[in-house]
């Protein structure tokens, strides 16, 4: 083994990588880093498993209006363990969004987006939106009734807007309607463009995380006065001492993904029928708050509201000038975030119950309940 290492070392200079790895392992992290600080690694590992399972799925997938459903049917019902692979990938996409949202919530809670880590936050936002785009494009690929009509409804949000609305809708759909052009477009974006974008964004995000380090609990002013390096020398612990937490979270997430895929595998619905709208068509759960909000306002106002909210979220490091990082000293922002979270959850819940019936209660498309007499 030693001789093999020496042989490779002479040709590839592998010790450089080992040295780099050691440096990273011993780079100090703040002592308060707990399990909440492992979600970024979990998301990264989840992305690699998504790529691996996605490649295997793509080997058996055909993009085309009728072929798509047939190929996913083959994967789900005929290919050995194809159902497991597809469910693993589908559950992975849901877990990815959950983990990223929790990760961002952690960064927000600990004030990790503040100076000098504004760009880390921006790249993180870019990653979140890219992952949502993954979900949006991947949702159509099975081409069953739910996925087809879900995409019709979601893309319709862009149409009819004054100005560029129709053009944007046409670009997304590849035409006026959701057709095989849309499917080809979504497939290419899903398997080629978005993975490339994620690799670039992850590289930039990780570079910044390693360069600037994980934010301390102290205020921005104190960090600037004492210097991050000095603070870490005094109270930091090496990343290696935190590694077992990272390993634990990654394995727990993997276990959860496999368990969900095994116990609740994704079935495949009827093939997409463009002239037959099924009842209660909805986009994925993470788009429900936006989808529901657009029902209460004229289209232009709704879109402006959504964009304003997203703008506030993305530009948070530049808008929040309070140097404090401890949540107790940022009560106004914490309160505002709490209200925003409650509104988002309420909109999501309304979106979930809208156009559905639960017992004797029927909810209209705006989520208003109506009592229905038992028949």
């Amino acid at each position: 083994m030693k001789r093999l290492w020496a042989w490779l070392e002479a040709r590839l200079g592998l010790s450089m990588f080992r040295e780099f790895g050691n440096q990273q392992l011993h780079k100090p992290v703040p002592a308060h880093a707990n399990y909440a600080f492992t979600l970024g690694t979990a998301a990264l590992v989840l992305f690699t498993t998504q790529v691996a399972s996605g490649i295997l799925l793509a080997m058996n997938y055909s993009s085309g209006l009728e072929k798509a459903h047939l190929s996913v049917h083959r994967i789900t019902y005929e290919l050995p363990s194809g159902w497991l692979l597809r469910s693993f990938h589908a559950w992975g996409s849901h877990l990815m969004v959950i983990i990223l949202l929790l990760h961002m919530a952690r960064v927000f809670w600990y004030g990790g987006y503040k100076k000098p880590r504004e760009l880390t936050w921006l790249f993180g936002c870019g990653l979140l939106f890219t992952m949502l785009a993954f979900g949006f494009t991947g949702y159509l690929l099975p081409m069953d009734q739910v996925s087809y009509w879900g995409t019709v409804v979601a893309t319709e949000s862009f149409m009819g807007l004054p100005g560029l609305g129709d053009s944007v809708g046409h670009v997304i759909r590849g035409g006026a309607e959701v057709t095989d052009s849309t499917l080809s477009r979504f497939f290419i974006v899903h398997v080629l463009l978005l993975p490339g974008a994620v690799v670039g964004l992850v590289a930039a995000h990780l570079y910044l995380v390693r360069r600037l380090g994980i934010s301390p609990r102290e205020s921005v002013t104190e960090e600037q006065a004492r210097g991050y390096e000095n603070m870490m020398k005094e109270s930091g612990v090496p990343f290696a001492a935190h590694l077992y937490r990272e390993v634990t979270t990654v394995l727990v997430v993997l276990a959860l993904q496999v368990t969900l895929a095994m116990l609740w595998p994704f079935a495949l619905g009827e093939p997409a029928t463009p002239d037959q709208t099924p009842k209660g068509v909805k986009p994925e759960w993470y788009f429900l708050p936006v989808y529901q909000l657009l029902k209460y306002f004229p289209k232009l106002v709704g879109i402006l509201l959504v964009n304003a909210a997203l703008g506030l979220f993305v530009l948070l490091p530049f808008l929040d000038r309070n140097p404090e990082r401890r949540p107790g000293k940022r009560t106004f922002l914490m309160g505002a975030a709490g209200v925003a979270l409650l509104v988002t959850l309420a909109l999501g819940a309304l979106g979930y119950v809208a156009d559905r019936r639960f017992g004797n209660w029927e909810f209209d498309i705006q989520g208003r309940p109506h009592k229905v007499e038992a028949k």
Partner: protein
């Protein structure tokens, strides 16, 4: 003359769309929503026809016909336009009265033809047991032969319906990765017999229906049981594999954690700082 006609034209509107009816008949519209008629796009004018309306007048509908087409006494004839087979079966029953217009027997017994059992606006898939309990028992008391026959029929029809729904569910959304048990034939013939049963029950010749339904029910039950067996076996197998996988993962996790702590330190070894 032209001015009068124009004026009439202004105050009158043709009720040719259901949206116009809903403005006044809110209760009926609410009942109609979610009904079988609503799902099949049979709106107000499908039964009631269209009429000239003067919204300002006290008696808003100007003509009785054709608006009054959908009334209680004429219901079988009207319903037969779509539900011909059911009305034909109904005619074979002891409940039928030839003289529909007079409807003497119905009036005497406070019956209303099709509407005796079906609500015209809130037409749900009539639930036999609820229907029998609520409406038939007005005339057929607990101890009568008719009630016993009804109960015997329901005891066959309900499980048949349930088993068929189970079988259809298995095929409509099969458990991913589980092979089909070649049960489509049983489902198709079961559905055909089920539709026939639904039509024939209007004749209330229950014994005759039971003969038709019995063999099909047995085939449907067997097919459902076969598919359920395959699904259950697959679920048990999956749980077993999952437990093994999770156990291996847990062992790996413990070993990795121990290795990380030993090599790099952790909560128990906070002194493990770079040399």
């Amino acid at each position: 003359m032209i001015a009068v006609l124009l004026l009439l034209g202004l105050v009158q509107e043709r009720v040719s769309s259901d949206a116009r009816c809903i403005e006044c008949h809110k209760k009926e519209a609410e009942e109609w929503k979610g009904s079988v008629h609503a799902r099949n796009q049979a709106g107000c004018t499908a039964c009631h026809g269209a009429d000239d309306v003067n919204p300002a007048a006290e008696r808003k509908h100007l003509k009785k016909a054709p608006f009054r087409a959908g009334t209680k006494n004429t219901s079988p004839a009207l319903c037969a336009t779509c539900h011909g087979k059911e009305v034909e079966a109904f005619k074979e029953s002891a409940h039928w009265e030839e003289d529909v217009e007079a409807g003497a027997k119905w009036k005497a017994k406070k019956l209303q033809g099709c509407l005796s059992c079906h609500d015209p606006h809130a037409t749900s898939e009539a639930r036999r047991r609820a229907l029998f309990a609520e409406r038939c028992s007005h005339c057929h008391k607990e101890t009568t032969v008719q009630r016993k026959r009804m109960t015997a029929y329901m005891d066959q029809a309900d499980p048949f319906e349930r088993d068929l729904a189970t079988l259809k569910g298995f095929l409509h959304e099969p458990l991913p990765g589980v092979p089909y048990a070649d049960v489509e034939g049983a489902r198709d013939s079961g559905e055909e017999k089920y539709r026939e049963m639904r039509v024939r029950q209007h004749s209330v010749k229950f014994k005759e229906i039971e003969k038709v339904v019995g063999p099909s029910h047995a085939a449907v039950s067997a097919a459902a049981a076969k598919q359920r067996g395959l699904n259950d076996a697959a679920s048990v197998k999956r749980r077993k594999y999952l437990v093994i996988f999770l156990a291996l993962l847990a062992i790996n996790l413990l070993l990795l954690r121990a290795w990380c702590r030993k090599k790099f330190g952790g909560e128990e070894a906070p002194s493990a700082k770079p040399a």
